[in-house]
Amino acid sequence: MNAALIAIALFTVGTAVAALSRRNLLHSVLLLAGSWTGVAAFFLWAGAEFAAFAQVLIYVGAISMVVLFAVLLTRRSRDDLAPEPAARGRAFYAILTGTAVAAVLLVTVGRTAFPPGPALPPVLTVGQIGDQLMGPQAAALLVVGVLLTVAILGAVVLAARDGPAEPGDRR
């Protein structure tokens, strides 16, 4: 049982590292879609099917497509691909910080004695999730709906151009 978990973890972390270290943005987005699929596989492994399907639909389907659109809309020239002079030092310190955070978290997790959980995954049907969403969590569901609406409106306002387009403007 743990072998599947380790395989999922290696795949997810490997694609994430590859995605964030690539210079080509398109490769990054596609590799990161693989990483999100690995997270969905973990959700399936843990018995949370609904969360896994939501992850696939929203991350692998929607968010990766939106990011791809942003990449294609903002691609200008090879100039963006050229490394900056300060990039190497910043990458070094970023990796140092990431390693330190990972070390602290891993040592803490390793030293904490957790009570053993149930051997079998808990069963949670979609009907039960629906009952929860419409019953105790109804207020949160409404707030999320309002939040999504406001966020979409804000995104449209931010991304829309002000004033008429200039004649020589290709975008």
Binding site: L20, A48, G110, P122, L147
Partner: protein
Amino acid sequence: MSSLQLCLGFSSVLFAVGLAGALGRSNSIIVLLGLELMLNAANLNFIAFWRFGPAPAAGTGVLFVIFAIAVTAAETAVGLALVIAIYRHQHNIRLAEAVRLKG
């Protein structure tokens, strides 16, 4: 090492990878993707504690993950709109050059 510790270690490493990506890259889209990775690592923790926790019947972990995914979707939409707005002003998406509002 128990399964729960493996899950938590997995999410810790994923969080650290996202943090390093968000801090170390100068491309604003990659920084956003690093943030997404960190949020995914948090979702992994919710599911892990739901799976191995003492009272999984309530489904709190799954519900939290669903709401977190919805909030992340909103955050991504606004973040990418900001990236496009930055691109319109300075014709590239390097964070180091987006200092127009700096005092």
